[in-house]
Symmetry: C2
Subunit: 306 residues, 2 copies
């Protein structure tokens, strides 16, 4: 769990990382343990803020799951949450004087990139982190898209067809995530060669050394990513696409072929810039705080919240 | 050209249809002739309104093309327009007292369906007319998406892969429009059988009679459409999808397999209702008028325009 204290001007006053309780077998407390750890973290950070002479106005929590905005409940397989009343528990923990904002982690990351990062100044753009999984934060006509919490699942759209399609954890076949996530690169290299690798980082090192199997899985990932970016460009017309997540550590090895591939495929569409996201692993955490501050501001001015 | 006079409450007071000057070879005046016909139509409709005791407050014009919202210019291959200053010419024709609104025809149709048709009450939804071509109007978080005039080109996204992909008029391969538009159904039936048919309507009649070639092209169209609806649902999370255009005349022959196909494919996504659009060929024309009235209201109240 990445967490921190952020001032009204977006300055990060404190940051820390805490372990998330294990929810995979052997389960030790499951989703309740995760929620308890979250509540404990929030309370302890408030105490730290108070000790440092600050007053916490709002708490922003972002999770890799589907948020029911109306009820404040969250479903997140990786956290063993299903209809878990996260907002109510958080509100009870912090008391009635503080705002509580729940959001999706990738959308929060996209919001941080939009406000302070690679998407600054855009009104139609995309934040696409390529990490263990792939989800997207869509900026459309100046606003971050929520789709009632369901939008942006570009990673679970089919870009591998026919016999090459693999079953995704989501139950569909041929999803972008099965071929182009950091986890997929490592897994597919292992399946292809019978050799275990230490994550996508090692696949990229092998690629740099001219390993043909690394080149093959990389090329398949690029092809699916180019398809996805062309599709997104055709449908939603972003002016800029910021690639984030662990894979963007590959730099131009990733970005240059994406730019060339997209450029070659577009005909009538408006061509987007393709750039690296700039906020790294802090994006989601910072976005949570910015969204929480926005709620404070919106409630004070009567404006509609994000 | 479909045109009419619409009251502030959305009631249609008058409607008529006029021919669009030919712009395909042999060209007779090209894009200028189309623009002149448009200006003449607008002026004559104003005269009719005045004769009937009405005052025209605003003019809404929708075109099947890409509109530069900033400059009011339009590019539309079918009208032989390229950077044509339609807004300025319209404004000059109607004088400074009237508002002029330019919009994309499919988006205007979607707006009419949202305000008075099959999408009423939705905040995340899709209008997908299947006609000579295929474009989409996207409603996201309560607003119609513009994407600076470029968004919604679901018809030019690749849903046919490998050797089966055909070259689309847009220059890309395997677009939805090459297999699932009304024009594509007729063309593909002709190519497959060597027999010319009188449009998609005849293909549907042959399908009803059990013609195996009609069944084959229909099945390929359905497969691509199901892919497109699953993709859109995964990425943008609509609660309702309204299918319009000529093909929706097929009724449940079209809608039932789309519903079944989408239902069978979705796993974690929110399942949308799939319904027929209700405003038919009038949708674009009505949407143009509603958008024009919105501009009048927005300017009077200081609200942001659609």
């Amino acid at each position: 769990m990445k967490c921190g204290l952020v001032a009204a001007d977006g300055a990060v006053l404190h940051r820390e990382t805490r372990p998330t309780p294990r929810t995979v077998p052997p389960r030790r407390g499951g989703g309740r343990a995760v929620l308890d750890a979250l509540l404990e973290t929030v309370v302890e950070l408030e105490q730290k803020a108070a000790a440092d002479g600050h007053r916490v106005r709002a708490v922003g929590v972002v999770v890799p799951g589907i948020i029911d905005a109306e009820n404040g409940t969250v479903g997140a397989e990786n956290l063993a949450w299903a209809g878990t009343p996260v907002r109510a528990e958080l509100q009870a923990a912090v008391g009635p004087d503080q705002k509580v904002v729940l959001a999706h982690d990738v959308r929060a990351g996209g919001y941080a990139e939009l406000r302070q990062g690679a998407l600054t100044g855009t009104t139609n753009s995309l934040f696409l982190p390529l990490g263990t999984g792939i989800a997207a934060a869509m900026v459309v006509d100046g606003s971050l898209v929520s789709g009632d919490g369901y939008a942006g699942e570009l990673g679970h759209t089919r870009f591998v067809h026919g016999d090459a399609a693999e079953l995704c954890a989501c139950g569909q076949w041929g999803c972008l995530e099965t071929v182009a996530s950091a986890a997929a690169l490592a897994r597919r290299y292992g399946v292809r060669t019978g050799k275990a690798v230490d994550g996508a980082r090692e696949v990229l090192e092998l690629l740099a050394q001219g390993d043909p199997d690394a080149a093959a899985v990389w090329s398949e990932a690029l092809e699916a990513l180019i398809d996805a970016l062309v599709l997104y460009t055709t449908l939603v017309a972003p002016t800029r696409i910021a690639i984030g997540g662990g894979l963007v550590g590959a730099g131009e090895t990733l970005l240059a072929p994406l730019r060339e591939g997209v450029h070659a495929r577009l005909t009538f569409q408006r061509e987007p810039e393709i750039v690296a996201a700039v906020l790294g692993e802090e994006a989601g955490c910072l976005g949570a705080a910015l969204m929480a501050w926005d709620r404070v501001t919106a409630d004070e001015t009567g404006e509609q919240q994000v």
